[in-house]
Symmetry: C2
Subunit: 494 residues, 2 copies
Amino acid sequence: MFESAELGHSISKRTYSREVPKLREALLDSQYDLFQDGRFPVMVLIAGVDGAGKGETVNLLNEWMDPRHIRVAAFGEPSDEERERPPMWRYWRELPPKGKIGILFGHWYTDPILDRVYRKSKQPQLILSIEEIVRFEKMLTDEGALLLKFWLHLSKEKQKKRLKALEKDPKTRWRVTETDRRHFKLYDRFRKVSELALRQTSSASAPWIVVEGEDARYRNLTVGRALLAAMRERLDQKPAKPAADRIPPIPRPIDNRHVLGALDLTLKLDRKKYTELFALYQGRLNLLSRNPGFRRRSAILVFEGNDAAGKGGAIRRIAAALDARHYRIIPVAAPTEEERAQPYLWRFWRHVPQLGRFALFDRSWYGRVLVERVEGLASEFDWARAYPEINDFEQQLADNGAIVMKFWLAISKDEQYRRFKERQQTAFKRFKITPEDWRNRKKWEAYEQAVCDMVDRTSTAVAPWTLVEANDQLYARIKVLKTICERLESSLKR
Amino acid sequence: MFESAELGHSISKRTYSREVPKLREALLDSQYDLFQDGRFPVMVLIAGVDGAGKGETVNLLNEWMDPRHIRVAAFGEPSDEERERPPMWRYWRELPPKGKIGILFGHWYTDPILDRVYRKSKQPQLILSIEEIVRFEKMLTDEGALLLKFWLHLSKEKQKKRLKALEKDPKTRWRVTETDRRHFKLYDRFRKVSELALRQTSSASAPWIVVEGEDARYRNLTVGRALLAAMRERLDQKPAKPAADRIPPIPRPIDNRHVLGALDLTLKLDRKKYTELFALYQGRLNLLSRNPGFRRRSAILVFEGNDAAGKGGAIRRIAAALDARHYRIIPVAAPTEEERAQPYLWRFWRHVPQLGRFALFDRSWYGRVLVERVEGLASEFDWARAYPEINDFEQQLADNGAIVMKFWLAISKDEQYRRFKERQQTAFKRFKITPEDWRNRKKWEAYEQAVCDMVDRTSTAVAPWTLVEANDQLYARIKVLKTICERLESSLKR
C-alpha cells in the first residue's frame, strides 16, 4: 500500500510557486461554498509516519484557508474528563459541524496502532478497535460527512535521513523528540501494524490517501489538491437521494399481538401500599448510589413513553432519592441549530455522564426511530440504520461501566384522552398540553408500531427495555424504582 | 430482542386454512416474477432455538413454492474438501443465483455461536467471527441480494415443554436428539451468545426477524408473509440507482510519477544467463513444491498485465516446474451466464485450491477494478467497494494457509505495438490478437491509472503485488520465478 509513496515524489520550486496561489484561491472558494451550502462537514484526518510532516501539513491547511471555518483538533493524552467516558467520547466532542472543516491530528487511529506497536495490546484487541473505527466512520459517512484520511509516509531509509537532518541543524533539533527516536527503532513493526489498520479501514466512502512525505512541496500540493477535488466534487453534486431501496420491510405480527398489547394496564397500587414501597425503594436507591462500587460505574436512564404517560413525574421521584451533585436530568426537545449540524447521536454523546453519576434522559436518542420515523423527519435509510448505531452506542456506554436502563411508559388511548382533558381544565397543568400532543394522538397506531420495532431491535442484554404499565401512576413509579434498584444491585454485585 | 417472541403468539386453524392458499399463490407468483426479473437472488436464512421448528419451516417453504427455483443448502460437518478451504468457502458454493431462492439451514452463524456456547472459543474470537459475517453480508446486500434472516425463538419454558411433548409421543420421540438435550441445559448461555450475535449483525439492509416458534401456524404464516412482502417490495421497485455520490475521488500524483513509470523497462537478460538461472529457479521451485511444510499451505498466483505482456508464457514456465497433479491454471475470460448470476467474487471462490496445491490465475478478480472500471462495466459504487472486498478475500485465503502472490507484467506502449504487429504477421500467433486488443490500447492512460490505484489499494503484506519489467521476456520470467521461490522459502520457514 506504500509503494506509490516511496518513489521519491517531488515538485520543483517553480511549479510550486505557480500552483500554490491558484490552489489557495480555489480552496478558499470551496470553503465559503461549503459554509453557504451547509449540507455536510469535512473531516480531514492527518496520520502517518513521524517526520513525514504531519504537523506542518496541519499548520499549512490552517494557513491556506480561512481559520474561522476550520477547527483543528489535536488529541494528546486524554484528560480526566475524557478518561471517565467511553474512548470515542473525545472524538465526538471535536467533530466539525456541517459547513465547516475539521482537521483531526492525533485521532482514533493513534492509540490502537501505537498500543499494538508497543505490545500493550494483542492482535485481537487491535482488530476489535479497528472494527469499532469501521463502524464509527461508516456512521459518519452515512450521516453525510466527507471524510478524508491522509497517511503521510516515509520509507525507512528516508525517515532515518530526515531525522538525521533535523538533528544536525540546531534550528530544528528541538523537533526530534525522544519518542521519534523510539518510534524509528520500531519502524518495521509500525509499518506492519499501520498497513493492517489502513487495509481494514479503507472503505469505498472513506479510503486512505497515502502521500509521500519527504518533499514538502509535493506533500503540501498533494494534500491541498486532494482536499479541493473532494470538496468540489461533493459541492457540485445535487443532494443525494438516500439509498432506501435495499431495506426489507419489517413484518407486523400477523395475530396482532405485540409487546404493548400484552401489557395489563389495569395494574394499580393503592396509595397506602405505594407510600410504603416508595419509602422503601427510595431508601434502597439512595444507598445504592453511595455504594463504593458505583464510583467506577454510572447509570444512564432513558425515559420514553406516550404523551402524558408520566415520564416527568417518574423522573422526579428518582431524582428525589439522589444527591443533587450526582445526577442530571436531560430534557430532550427538538435539536438546536448546533445539534442539527452534527450526526444525530452527537447531542446525546455530549451528555454522557462521568463515572459515579446518574443521567436521567427525559426522551432520548430513540426520537430517531419514534417521532422522526413516524413524522417522516428521517428517511427509511436513516432510521433503519439507527437501530444498529444505537445498539453500538449503548454497547460503548456499557463497556465503559455505564448501567443502561430504558423505560417505556405505556398508557391506553382512553387514559391519554382523560389526561389531556384534565390538563386542559387545570390552570397550572395547561402548559403541558399542546396542539402537537393532539396531532401525535392521531397517529397512535403508527407510534405503537414504531415502539414495538424499537423494543424488538434495541432491547438487549446490555441495555434492556422495561415496559411500564402506567395507567396507574403509583404503580408505574414503583415499577420503575424497583427495576432500577434491582438492576443496580445485580450490576454492583458482580 | 426476544420479547416479542415470548408473547404466546398463535393463529387459529380456521384463519390458517383461509390464509394459506392465498399466501401460497402469492408466493408462487413472486417466485416466477423473481425468476423472470432475474435481477437479484433471495437468501432465506433459518436459524434459532432447537425445537422452534427450523427444519419444519425449511420443508414448508419448499412445499409451498416451486422447488425447481429453490435451493436448500443444509450445512453439517464440513467435508474434507471444505476443511481444506477458508471457512466461508462452503457458503459461497451454495449461494443461490439471481432469480432464485436459496434457503440456508445451518449456516455461517452456527459455528461461531455454538463454539462460544460450548466454550471452544473465547469472546474476542466470537466477535471477530461476527465481524467477518458483517462484511460478508454487506458484500451480499451490496451485490443486490435480498437477505432475510429468520430467528425462530422459544422461551426457556416453552422449549422445555416442547422437548417433553416430543419425547412423550412415540411418533416424534426420534426427533429429540442428545444434542437437543445438551443444548437445552445450555439455554441461558445460548440465549446470551445468540443475542450478541443477532445484535451485532442486524443491519439496516439485513436485519434479523425474530419469530416465536411455538405455534406452527403462527410461525409458518409469519415466515411466509415476511418472505412474500420483502420479495414483492423489491420486485415492484424500479432498479436502484447506485449510491455512488459519497465516494471521494482518487487523487492523481501531481508530479506524474507513479509505480509503473518508475519501472526500468530496459532491464534485460541475455539468453545464456537466462538458461542458467531458469534451470536454477525451476529446480528450486520444484523442491519447494514438494516441501513437507507445503502440505498445509497452498500457493495462489495471480497474473495480470498489459495485453501481450507475456502472462501466458510466464505461467507456462512455472507450471513446467510443478507436478501436473499439484497445480491448475485458471484462465479468466468474460464470466459465464452462471457466473454473472452471482456476486463477482463467486467465480474465483470456485477455484480456491485445496491445501498443498498451486493455482495459477491468468487474469483474475482484479478485472473488476481494471477492465470493468475502465470500460464502465462496473459503477463507481461497485468498483470502489471492490478494493476492501478483495483485500478481505485475500486475507481469508491467507488465514487459511494460502501464500498469495500477484504479478503485474508491464510493457511499454511501443513494445506492445511491436508485439501486436508481430502477432498479426505470424500465422500461428494470429489468434492471439483481436480487435479488442487494439481498442484497449487506445485507453492506455486510463488503464495505467487503474493499475496504479489497484497497487496502492491492494498491495498488502499478506498479498503483495510484484511489478515486473516485461519488455524483455527473459528478464520477466526470471523475476517472476525468483519472486515465487523467495516468497515460498520465507513462508515455509516460519
